[in-house]
């Protein structure tokens, strides 16, 4: 759509000649020898050239971005070229070394600026920098309030100011400001800053984002007076700035005496609504003051008009004092609002749809209405793709209203509550069936399922109103809800560990020893690497109760046992524990620890046991990451392709032992077992250094990622030194993880707008609002016949509007740009 602007054709002509030998005329970057390049430079025309060695690779990030910048820069009459330096050539622009290549900006054959390629990091940066250099006089860069004040003072009574704060030069916001300055630079004084402090002193609180203020200095005649300021509330995009400035140009208040339905101002073209303040002769002065006040408040958000009721020919409802017109062609709303704030909030609330359309506009070239129907939920998509596969559902018992109670009473059962139409529960059903296959014929636990889409009453009675839910029913016990990962392995673990009671009652010292050695539940220790044993003397009833409660809570997560026979001292002495105590048998390490348990509540016991399950240097996996994230510490991750290098492991363990990494969660990741780790690395590194890689990820505050230099040996000393530097802030992060919120991936259909469009169409066709009884039938017929015609219209209209709007801008640009060339 954009490329059809005639502007491009005109400017593009000179390039077509060059490009014709190359590729399509769009996005092509002419490659010239330096001699050729300098011969093509025209006086007065700006040109950006990237000099590089002829033998250098034909692609790089920079070149990709430069290609993208070709077209937009052409729109501003700036040509772009890649100049190949031949070896023997001694042009001063050709750098001496491969990586010292630069881009140069010329006007005619005069060099304006040189840019190291790393400042031009992407297409936005390229355009922003180039325009910034060209518009050196039009855009004043300031760093102090004083300087800003001087500019403001000097322009009072003369011109208005557009003052922008961007976080950094080269950002998309900076580009947007520069593009606006290109169009409006002679009309308004543009002032730019990157100093947060400066913005803060103007009184903005939320400085995280870019800001643009319009200083109304032209009307100020008294030099001691401040210029009135209007903040642009929309995000800084080229289109938004254009609209904002356009609305600043429009008169603050217009008086009209015609049917509001017919009134149109520039605001409507800009997609802003109109607010009519209804006035009468008698109260004219006061109304006008009110309207002006509202005008200031709504500046940039809506057009404000004063509607003179007395000289109006059409009737408007008697009590209405405000008329609201959302957009051209739509019926106006008559409102009764007795408070200025109500007027303001009415407009602001109705801006909502406006924002939605903004989104549509922004990605109009990307997803249009058709893509809304493309599934972007991976779970829904995969389940749908898998719908035709026959699952061996018969391995699980399907329950119904009639069979449910009888079944769960008759035997220990696991029940999956799912809904046939809900993708997540259908995805989990597959894991459940896999589990049934694994357990086939071995488990005493009955695997059952119930489709809540059919038996919603049963599910509601079992207190299941979300899906999926897994519950375990055991005779004489309350049903237990499963709270682990929705996958085969974790559910299997839960089922297996739930076979034994929790805690298990151990009755002899010998049995306790077997329990601690893992002999007693040999088949279960693969599911729980730790066995927990509570030791109590028979009289410690409260402590025992607390422990039993904790055990129940941890049912299915870990093996717990309790010993409180008279001879408990034998055990406590053997493991040097003071009663009441907790023994933790770590089967992998063949080690038994003891922890005192005096006056510990159930909640805290649960915490103690859960913490004891955490390893000091775990292999991080998809399943266990959440448990380690709970510690809220930055992760120190060693990415390893395959199992971990013992030397590295040793170094890490030593650091851990010496308590150097207590503020971190050290762990390692095996890319063979957790292939998604590669996706993580791709985000961290543009260029992936060889593995293994050691990285600190500060997930919980700031999102910085630090990488251990790959040229250093992984030794304790080096690691420690590096970690200290990271901690001291001496290392610079390789990347900062984005902190964006998760917004809707795509817009929704705007049915309200479609309904309004259809309604206004009807009413305009029908003429006056009230239709005589006899006419109704006729009109209805007409409606039905017309339906197919109406159907497509709303989206079409939308697009046309957008097209018009962006072309207004284009046309204006090219107009202005003609001036420049002259």
């Amino acid at each position: 759509m954009m490329s059809s602007s005639f502007n491009i054709f005109r400017v593009g002509i000179s390039f077509v000649m060059v490009c014709i030998f190359y590729k399509s005329s769009v996005d092509c970057l002419p490659e010239l020898s330096s001699q050729k390049y300098f011969s093509t430079l025209q006086s007065g025309k700006a040109s950006l050239a990237y000099f590089c060695q002829a033998d250098s690779p034909s692609t790089s990030v920079f070149l990709e971005e430069l290609k993208k910048a070709v077209k937009p820069l052409q729109d501003y009459g700036i040509s772009v070229a890649k100049v190949n330096c031949v070896k023997e050539e001694a042009s001063r622009y050709c750098g001496k070394e491969k990586d010292l290549m630069k881009a140069y900006l010329f006007r005619g054959n005069i060099l304006l600026r040189e840019f190291p390629t790393d400042t031009l990091f992407d297409v936005n940066a390229i355009i922003a920098h180039v325009l910034f250099a060209l518009l050196f006089n039009e855009v004043k860069y300031v760093t102090t309030l004083e300087r800003l004040q001087n500019i403001e003072d000097s322009l009072k009574g003369k011109a208005n100011i557009a003052f922008a704060y961007v976080r950094a030069i080269g950002t998309p916001e900076h580009r947007a400001v520069m593009e606006a300055a290109f169009v409006y630079g002679t009309t308004y004084q543009f002032v730019l800053t990157t100093e947060i402090a400066l913005l803060g002193s103007i009184g903005t609180e939320d400085i995280e984002y870019a800001h643009l203020y319009f200083f109304h200095c032209k009307p100020v005649l008294d030099l001691t007076q401040q210029c009135r300021r209007t903040l642009m509330e929309q995000p800084l995009t080229t289109l938004n700035i254009y609209r904002f400035i356009k609305s600043m140009e429009a008169p603050l208040l217009t008086e009209v005496a015609e049917d509001p339905q017919q009134v149109s101002t520039v605001h409507l073209q800009l997609g802003l609504p109109l607010v009519f303040i209804v006035s009468q002769q008698a109260t004219y002065e006061a109304d006008r003051r009110t309207a002006e006040w509202i005008g200031w408040r709504l500046l940039g958000k809506a057009g404000v008009l004063l509607l003179l009721r007395d000289s109006l020919e059409v009737d408007i409802p008697q009590q209405a004092n405000v008329v609201f017109k959302r957009e051209e062609g739509m019926p106006v709303e008559y409102l009764v609002l007795h408070d200025i704030d109500l007027v303001i909030s009415h407009v602001e609330n109705n801006m909502y749809t406006e924002e939605v359309r903004e989104d549509e506009d922004d990605d109009i070239e990307g997803p249009d209405m058709d893509t809304l129907g493309i599934q972007d939920d991976e779970v829904a998509e995969t389940v749908y793709r898998d719908r035709k596969r026959q699952l061996p559902l018969e391995l699980t018992v399907e329950l119904t209203e009639e069979t449910f109670n009888a079944t769960v009473m008759a035997s220990d059962s696991i029940v999956l509550f799912y809904a046939g139409w809900q993708a997540v529960s259908m995805a989990f059903l597959q894991s459940y069936i896999d589990l049934a296959i694994k357990l086939k014929g071995t488990s005493t636990m009955l695997l059952a399922r119930i489709n809540c889409a059919d038996w919603s009453d049963v599910c509601t009675k079992q207190n299941v109103t979300e899906f999926p839910v897994v519950k375990m029913y055991k005779e004489g016990e309350n049903p237990v809800s499963y709270a682990g990962m929705l996958g085969t392995e974790d559910l299997l673990k839960f089922i297996q560990l739930s076979r034994i009671s929790c805690p298990v009652n151990i009755t002899s010292v010998q049995e306790a020893e077997q329990y601690l050695s893992g002999e007693l539940y040999k088949d279960l220790i693969s599911y729980s690497s730790v066995s927990v044993l509570g030791l109590f003397s028979p009289t410690m009833t409260t402590a025992k109760e607390d422990f039993t409660e904790a055990g129940k809570y941890l049912k299915g997560c870990v093996i717990t046992g309790i010993y409180s026979e008279e001879d408990v001292l034998i055990l406590s002495n053997r493991y040097t524990a003071t009663l009441p105590a907790l023994l933790l048998a770590r089967h992998k390490e063949d080690k038994v620890e003891s922890l005192p348990l005096a006056n510990t509540h159930a909640q805290d016991i649960v915490q103690m046991i859960t913490n004891s399950l955490l390893e000091t240097f775990p292999e991080i996996t998809v399943e266990n990451l959440p448990t380690y994230l709970r510690l809220q510490k930055p992760l120190l991750v060693l990415f390893s392709d395959g199992s971990i290098n013992p030397q590295y492991k040793k170094a890490m363990l030593t650091l851990i032992k010496e308590k150097h990494v207590d503020s971190l969660t050290p762990c390692w990741l095996n890319l063979k077992t957790t292939p998604v780790g590669r996706g993580v690395l791709q985000t961290y590194f543009d260029v992936l250094p060889p593995l293994p890689l050691l990285v600190v990820v500060n997930l919980h505050s700031g999102g910085q990622v630090f990488a251990f230099p790959s040229d250093q040996a992984v030794t304790e000393q080096n690691l420690l030194l590096w970690l200290k530097k990271v901690e001291a802030g001496l290392e610079s992060p390789i990347t900062i993880l984005p902190a964006q919120e998760w917004k809707p991936p795509l817009p929704a259909y705007n049915f309200l707008r479609m309904m309004d469009a259809a309604a206004s169409q009807h009413s305009s066709r029908k003429g006056p609002e009230c239709v005589k009884e006899t006419d109704v039938q006729e009109n209805d017929k007409e409606q039905h016949e017309d339906k197919s015609a109406i159907k497509k219209e709303p989206t079409e209209t939308l697009r046309i509007k957008h097209w018009n709007r962006s072309n207004v801008f284009k046309a204006e640009k090219s107009f202005r740009h003609d001036n420049k060339e002259l």
């Binding site: 995969t382 389940v383 996958g487 964006q740």
Partner: protein
């Protein structure tokens, strides 16, 4: 239909009233406090019993007063020809009992599956006596407290500051026994036949007493006044034996399949339309009944003339001008043997004392008492009208005048009372926001209350702060949406969704062609033009005000929302299609709440957890709480194929191959980076 309460009193009743009134005023103290009930229900018809059921389950102090010796006495006589026109669909192919209630128009709500009407009749259009038996069982099996043979003859108001509503309702039965009630629930139905007064109306037989034996009509010319179901039911019965039947009414016939209103003429009764249009002497005429006069000739036959002629004549049969004297092709120039009045029923206002301010809807409409959208009388607080008599709220729109509709509105009233007097907030469930799409889908696919009481009762989703969770309230009366907080005891501070069911605007109506070509919509982007009943979801950033509700646009069941979504109509009323129904709904909810409601496998959440500072709600509420969705190998395979997952193993190989030649250059995004992935990047 409801139950009729005594009209046995003419002047003696009046005397009784005066006597009682005197007794009260003369000896206010001496009159010992009458027996007190928190809740008094008038009438043991379907609505009264339904309310009794809810009161009983909640353990409330209540009594139902019934004139007759058993429940549902209306159905012992009506309909005269005994066939109920509410459907008793016993098979739907679905197991979901809530869904099946959508097609069971006779059962009352209870926890006992034996009390479903399908156990009482195999007929699709059951016999009225089965309804009587059913209601009898309902009252008996559930042990409802009904006082039979108790005719409440008079209801007055007794001001008392202590009372819940500032006054007590004093009910007096036929023996003069008073009862004191805190809340009065009137479920007396419509019991007074609607009479039209015109000269000669004394010759007209009423539906309530006319013979139902076709033999009595053999070879007769019959004129029926009215064009509702009772009129057509009467005609249907005698169609085969009469010479012809003419039907006369003020306005054109309204066919329920065109208006989507079950109270209009049902196809099961419309045999006469067929014979009229197939030139079989029967016919329909439109004229205002109040302009008519009936003249009886010497042979006892009836002639139709105009009141105007009758008034100017000397009122002697032979002297009155007949229309055919002026216009010899007047349609009703034949003489009739019988004239039958089938004009429906009105509410019986007579037992309510003026102090109750129980007025009718309008000067000209005495059919229904005036109630608010909450079914509470506008005149006195604490007086609610239930059942058929409460139909003014949705007359000619929804099903509130019929069992399958008012069983839900009664429940809504009960929920309101539970909060008002017992501090029990409107029942609701709270869920994490990731369950929002599911919760809505579940209800639109099974809920019967929404389906029957479309545009009158709607579900409400109250969004919690920061849109991380929501509360789901079922079947709230839409007309009192503005009072939601006081009625339910819930907070609606952070926006709300209202889930409603609607027919397409302009689709229904007596003159509409509901079979026009291309009447159904299939594309999701055209969903707003859906014609058949379909779910519509309204989003409000703030709770609408009373003003908003009252001055909502014409034809809108609810005030104009911030955004609206229509789920496209479905031929099977099964709104579970992943792309056609669920996806657009999710996009709508996402855009209202400004968040991402997609679901993700644990692996994706893992990736996000390590590469972003914030996680989508699904990962936050599932994966981070160790409840991530792991998925199976075959699903994983589908993910790779669909492009949702970058096959890291494959990238691995690819990378190793290319590593040596291209050191120092970033990995170009290969073909493995696909649309889904790029969508995420755009976030």
């Amino acid at each position: 239909m409801g139950l009729s309460v005594a009209r046995l009193w003419g002047s003696p009743g009046l005397l009784l009233t005066v006597a009682l009134y005197l007794a009260h005023t003369l000896h206010p103290v001496q009159a010992s406090t009458p027996p007190h009930r928190d809740y008094c229900v008038l009438g043991a018809g379907p609505a009264g019993l339904q309310m009794a059921y809810f009161l009983q389950r909640a353990g409330r102090d209540y009594t139902v007063f019934e004139r007759a010796p058993g429940p549902g006495s209306f159905f012992t006589r009506y309909p005269r020809h005994r066939k109920l026109i509410s459907i008793n669909k016993r098979y739907t192919g679905r197991a979901n009992s809530e869904f099946n209630l959508r097609h069971d128009w006779n059962s009352l709500l209870s926890h006992d599956p034996r009390l479903l009407f399908r156990h009482y009749s195999p007929a699709y259009f059951p016999d009225a006596s089965d309804m009587v038996r059913y209601l009898g069982d309902f009252a008996a099996r559930l042990g409802l407290h009904v006082l039979y043979n108790t005719t409440i003859a008079h209801v007055t108001l007794n001001k008392d500051r202590q009372a819940w509503n500032g006054h007590y309702f004093i009910l007096t039965d036929q023996k003069g026994q008073p009862y004191q009630c805190s809340v009065l629930l009137v479920a007396t139905g419509l019991s007074v036949p609607n009479l039209v007064d015109f000269p000669g109306s004394e010759y007209v037989e009423g539906y309530e007493s006319v013979s139902v034996d076709p033999k009595d009509f053999v070879g007769q010319n019959v004129l029926i006044l009215g064009r509702g179901n009772s009129a057509f039911e009467t005609a249907e019965n005698i169609l085969g034996v009469t010479n012809f039947i003419h039907m006369l009414s003020r306005s054109r016939v309204r066919l329920s399949w065109a208006t989507h209103y079950v109270g209009d003429l049902r196809a099961i009764n419309n045999g006469l339309l067929d014979t009229y249009q197939l030139k079989s002497l029967d016919g329909l005429l439109e004229s205002d009944l109040t302009d008519l006069a009936i003249v009886k000739d010497r042979e006892g036959k009836f002639h139709i003339t105009l009141k105007f002629y009758w008034e100017e004549g000397n009122q002697h049969a032979d002297a009155i001008t007949l229309p055919q004297d002026d216009s010899d092709n007047f349609a009703m120039r034949v003489a009739y043997d019988r004239v039958i009045r089938c004009l429906g029923w009105n509410f019986d206002f007579s037992i309510f004392n003026k102090s109750l301010k129980l007025s009718s809807v309008g000067e000209f409409s005495k059919k229904y008492p005036l109630v608010r959208g909450s079914y509470e009388s506008k005149g006195s607080r604490g007086l609610f009208v239930l059942g058929t008599a409460s139909h003014s709220v949705d007359y000619r729109k929804s099903a509130g005048g019929f069992i399958h509709g008012f069983r839900y509105t009664v429940r809504a009233v009960h929920r309101l009372l539970e909060h008002r007097h017992h501090g029990i907030t409107w029942p609701s469930t709270e869920h994490p926001i990731t369950q929002l799409t599911s919760s809505i889908l579940r209800r639109v696919n099974e809920a019967s209350g929404l389906y029957q009481m479309f545009s009158v009762l709607a579900d409400v989703v109250l969004v919690k702060e920061n849109a991380t969770a929501f509360e789901y309230l079922e079947e709230f009366p839409t007309q009192v949406l503005a009072q939601l907080e006081t009625i339910t005891g819930k907070q609606a501070r952070h926006g709300l969704f209202v889930i409603n069911m609607e027919y397409g605007r302009n689709f229904s109506g007596p003159d509409k062609d509901v079979f026009f070509y291309d009447r159904s919509v299939g594309h999701t982007e055209d969903a707003w033009q859906s014609n058949f009943l379909h779910p519509v979801i309204y989003y409000y950033r703030h709770l609408p005000t009373e003003q908003d509700v009252r001055f909502r646009p014409a034809d809108w069941p609810l005030p104009r929302p911030t955004a609206i979504h229509h789920i496209v109509e479905d031929f099977l009323t099964d709104w579970t299609a992943p792309v056609g129904h669920i996806l657009p709904l999710r996009r709508f909810l996402e855009n209202c709440l400004d968040t991402d409601l997609r679901s993700f496998y644990a692996e994706s959440c893992f990736l996000f957890a390590l590469t972003r500072q914030k996680l989508p709600p699904f990962c936050q509420q599932g994966y981070l709480r160790t409840q991530g969705l792991v998925g199976t190998e075959s699903l994983r395979q589908h993910r790779v194929e669909s492009g949702a997952l970058q096959d890291h193993a494959a990238v691995d190989r690819h990378r190793e191959d290319s590593y040596h030649g291209r050191v120092g250059h970033p990995q170009a995004p290969g073909p493995l980076v696909q649309p889904l992935h790029s969508n995420k990047e755009e976030l």
